[in-house]
Structure formats: structure tokens, C-alpha cells
Symmetry: C2
Subunit: 363 residues, 2 copies
Amino acid sequence: TVRNLFLLPGDGIGPEAMAEVRKIIAYMNAEMAGGFTTDEGLVGGSAYDAHGAAISDADMAKAMAADAVLFGAVGGPKWDAVPYDVRPEAGLLRLRKDMELFANLRPAICYPALANASSLKAELVEGLDILIVRELTGGVYFGEPKEIIDLGNGQKRGIDTQVYDTYEIERIAGVAFELARTRNNRVCSMEKRNVMKSGVLWNQVVTATHKAKYSDVALDHMLADAGGMQLVRAPKQFDVIVTDNLFGDMLSDVAAMLTGSLGMLPSASLGAPDAKTGKRKALYEPVHGSAPDIAGKGIANPIAMIASFAMCLRYSFNLVTEADNLEKAVANVLDKGIRTGDIMADGCAQVGTVEMGDAILAE
Amino acid sequence: TVRNLFLLPGDGIGPEAMAEVRKIIAYMNAEMAGGFTTDEGLVGGSAYDAHGAAISDADMAKAMAADAVLFGAVGGPKWDAVPYDVRPEAGLLRLRKDMELFANLRPAICYPALANASSLKAELVEGLDILIVRELTGGVYFGEPKEIIDLGNGQKRGIDTQVYDTYEIERIAGVAFELARTRNNRVCSMEKRNVMKSGVLWNQVVTATHKAKYSDVALDHMLADAGGMQLVRAPKQFDVIVTDNLFGDMLSDVAAMLTGSLGMLPSASLGAPDAKTGKRKALYEPVHGSAPDIAGKGIANPIAMIASFAMCLRYSFNLVTEADNLEKAVANVLDKGIRTGDIMADGCAQVGTVEMGDAILAE
Ligand SMILES: CC(C)[C@H](C(=O)O)[C@@H](O)C(=O)O
Ligand SMILES: CC(C)[C@H](C(=O)O)[C@@H](O)C(=O)O
């Protein structure tokens, strides 16, 4: 099998982090029978600078055709004033929408070596292992109307529309229940059914899906505001959390920050299995952003990008041993006290992006 | 002056907490020239049980006519299955909307005696004093369409609409800037302008309002997901946060939980000053909910309700000394180690709702 990767390093620290993944791919190609072919494109501000769009149609076509896309990060102050439709984030949103990547998997795990880096008390986060399953192609991100209307007499009106159809909720709930079965078999669904009609429907469809096909999995419901509170109070109570696009954006960021491992967290965005081949379109990206303040200095932590590649090995290519090995290499390096600046601690050795990549490769 | 209070104890622990405020009102009426007149009504599940609506028109009229409304809490499992339009929360939402209480003030302070109760490391929350100013009558809570449509063939569509007009953003920004001037003079505005058009407008109007009338106040902007992260990472970086209805719901709950003082936090919901009298319609309520699991046991913490009454003294009646005294009484009782079960700690004396109210009154 030829495995086809399309790399979109993007802006800020994206290219630096991606360079470390490229070293790992090269190593695997040298060691493995039938490795990876790679191609590379532009996304975000760098795509805007090159061709005035946050991703070109040509690169979009390559992303659609690839077995998996590896995505770095987009955005930065340089592009703060570009028109809304071509802002850096538009490239990422187009990839999600056009590739129909409706399922965003965001593990919030606390690396044991980093429990003290959390702002929470260490005992509340030690061993933390939550999986947030976020709906990624619906809701207020894409619903129409989405516009600013000029009402005259100095007044404007900003409108966004949250829309969810039954099938969208059903399929994301299915992903959450399936994944729960491979973990601790518990799902907590979060919405605001007390103020949102889409939340009422969300709650009903998750409940019905559970009853019809997944009644072996334990299911809870929580209002999203209470869910945010509970994440801060006692995060270990959760196994899998399933929620909509906007709540997922907020809650997964809060959960990521809790772990103290923000610079380390990967994510996977998956489409539906192809009816013929069973393959899913997929994009893998770190949870962190483009960090323009430290870009170009060679000090960014590449672990989230590398861990995203590990998710890619696991979910897109079923290379479970390779994924396990790569994740173990990351854990070993941390255990040895090798750290980038963002996770530096007393008694550890501080290294740059390249040295961190090398250390992981050496493991 | 006769000061007119309308009490809506609501459901769950609401009535127990309100009883302690009633004792304080009685004390003040005995000691003060021109105290308070009070009337009382039903809201939430208790109103539904009595007249099939989450608040009756008669009680709504009394709320509109009062100088201030004191609100307990609504909801509970008993009413989980009542129709959407008459669910307990609908009473609260109608009060907010009909009274035009657009400005929700949610202080997140960490009582020094309780810094260890936070799930965050004590040094991150000691001395924490944030004010979240949440828009309360707009956004996705009230925008139309808000409905579930039957699409046929087993599919439904849930729709909610986020709508903000210039004037709504202008007036809440004004409240935030005015309050910042009485504090540390810093405002951070949060939205998702990278995915929401209402967020783009929000950002523009806050920026323009700042430039036109409040350029002496320091203004920052943060994406709401990053804001949630930063609240968890380093909450003391904030002074006043201004944000929309839904983000405010999420972020203020996260901020409240950070303090370790959830059972202690009050809120004020204010309307615009009357053109003639300068008076604002106002409702005061604890941040916590109806806590049905502990209702009726006499163990609920009445401090958030009492602190809400202190806010009422301050904002509706300009009784600054009285408000200060009441807040000082609460702090003194905590310093003495008197605690309800929710904030119990080693070496403290555990008391019930009534004893806590008595202890505060004694101070
Ligand atoms: C960059 C932005 C559009 C994006 C989002 O809001 O989804 C980001 O915050 C994320 O969580 O992936
Ligand atoms: C009870 C509910 C409708 C309400 C809200 O969502 O505004 C509550 O969560 C709050 O924050 O006051």
C-alpha cells in the first residue's frame, strides 16, 4: 500500500512543528515496507499571501484526494485585517466542511510527568484521560443566515444561525458511543436544552441513538454551562464527552488547559467511512494555535504535532504498533526530563524544537 | 422613601435561602428609618404547579412595578418533562426579557477563607476579583427563528438564532467600561469573531464605544475559547470581562467554579436607567442553581442569596454602608470558621442554613 499524506504546515509555529514530523516520516520510510508519500500545500495566512485565498482550489483538491491531511496551525497578527472570507481560519473551516470531517476527537490527557504543570491541584488531574468528541461541520459555524445587515440610522445587525438535523446528531453520537466502548464505556452529552431548541433536539436524538444501538454504554446528560463547571471541579468524572461545534470548541479548550499539557495535545477530524472502501477522510492537527509570539525562534513544542501524527497512524492507517511506539517515545523523552520551554520544570533539561524532535526520534 | 422588594424564592433551595434574607430585611426594617416593603410571588416549577405557567402575569406585573426583585432559583427533576414553553427556566427568561435586564453582573471573587476550596492551586485564586458583565436579553437566547421543524422521513431540524444589534452591544459595553472605572480600569471583551458574524460586529462596536467615550480604560479582545483557557490558566489577569449571553453563561460558570466559592456568589441583572427617574429595573439572584438533591434538608448555603441582597442594597438603593456591612458580616463569619457543608474545612464548625443566617445577622 502506498499511503498518501498531504501536509499543510500553515502559519506561525506550524512549519517548525511540521518539520519534526517530516523527520519521523523519513525515518519510517527508511525502515518500513511501503511507507508514505507526501505532498505539501499552503493554508491560512501563508496561502493568502501567495494566492489571496486561505486555501487554493488546487490544494483543496489535493487534501480531498489524500489518505490523510496533517495540518499545522493558522493565523497571526499579520492577517488581522484581511477580509472575513479569506482570513486564515477560513482555510481550516473550508477543509473541515468540504472534506465533511464531522467528528473531531480531542483527547485531554495529562502526561504523568506534567501533572504539576496544571493550574489545578495535581491530584485532580493525575491520570486524567478524557476524550471530547466535538461535532465539526454543523451548528453555528456554518448555519445560514450568517451576515451583518446594515439597518440604517447607524445600526447594524449581526446574525449567526445554529442548525442541527437529526442525522448530524445521530452520526456524531454514534462515533462517541463506539469510542466509549474502546475506553471506559461512558458518554456524557452536553447541550443547553433549557434555552436552545437545537439543544432539545440534540438531547432527544442522543437519547434515541443510545436506546436503539448503544444501550450497553452508560449515558449521562449535562447542561453545557454545568459541564464547564464540572470539568474544572472534578475532570476525572468524565470518560467521553459528546457535544456540538461551539460548545465543543469552548469545552475542549478548557479541558486541554486543565491537563497542563496544552502544547502536547493532538486532535483528529474524521469523515464518514466511504461506502465502498470503508476509508474515512481525515485531518490531524494540534489543539494549540499558531503562537505567533514564539514563531521562528526554534523554541516551539513539536509534541502536539507529533502526537497528531500518531493519531493519524492509528486512525487512518491502522498502524497501531507504530502509533503506540511513537506515543511511548514521547512519554520516554518526558520521563527523561527533556523539555521545551513551555513545559520546563526544575531539574529538567531545556531544549528547542529540533532537539525535541531528535530526542523523540532517537527513542 | 419606601423601598419596594418583590421576592421570588422559586424552587429547590431557593425558599430556604430566601428565608435568611427575609430575616435580614426584618432586622433592617426594625433598625432603619424607612425600610423595605416586601411582597412575594411564585416562579419556576412552583409557579407551574400553582397555575400552569413558569410565572403568572400577575406576578410578572408585580416584578415590573417593584424597585427590585430578589430571585432564588428554579428547576428540579419534578419538572423535567413539562412542555418547553412552561419549563421552570422560562420564568427566569421572561423576567429578564420583559424587564429588559440587559446587564448581568457576575463577580467572581475568592473569599480568602476559601482559597483552599478551589480546585486550582491556591496561589492562582487567592485575592481573585473578576467581574463578568454578561449581555442578558439578546443573542441566541431570544433570537428568532428558534424552533424544531419536522422535515419528514424521520428527520427534524433544530434552529436557534444568534442576533445582536449595534445598540445592544453599545449599551452592555458602556456598563462594562463604567464599572471598570470603579475597579482596576481594564476590560477584556470576548467573542468568536473568527467564526461568527455577530462576533465581528461585537468586536467592532466595543472598539468604537471604547474609542468614542472610554479611551481612559484599558481594552483587550480575546477569542472566547482562548478566554476560557486563560480563565483556567491565570484568572487574576482579568479585571472586567464583557461578553455575550451564551459565552457569558459558560464563562461565568467556569469563573465561579474557579473561586471555590460557588455557593457564595451573587449576581445582579440591571436594566437601563429610566429617562425621568434614573432608576434601573433590577433582579438579584445567586449564581448557583436550585440544588434539588439537598433541598428541604436545611443544609443549603444561604450566602450567595444574602450576598445578592447586598448587591441589591448597593445597586438599587445606593445603601453603600449597609451593603459593605452585610458583606463584612459574611466575611467575618467565614473568618470565624463557621461553615455550611458545601464549604466545610478542617477545624471549622459545620452549621445549617438557619444557623448561618443567624450568625451573619449577629455580626
Ligand atoms: C481556528 C478556529 C476557527 C477553530 C475553531 O473555532 O473551531 C479553533 O479554535 C479550533 O478549536 O479548532
Ligand atoms: C437557568 C438558565 C436558563 C440560566 C441561563 O442559561 O442563563 C442559568 O444557567 C444562568 O446562568 O443564569
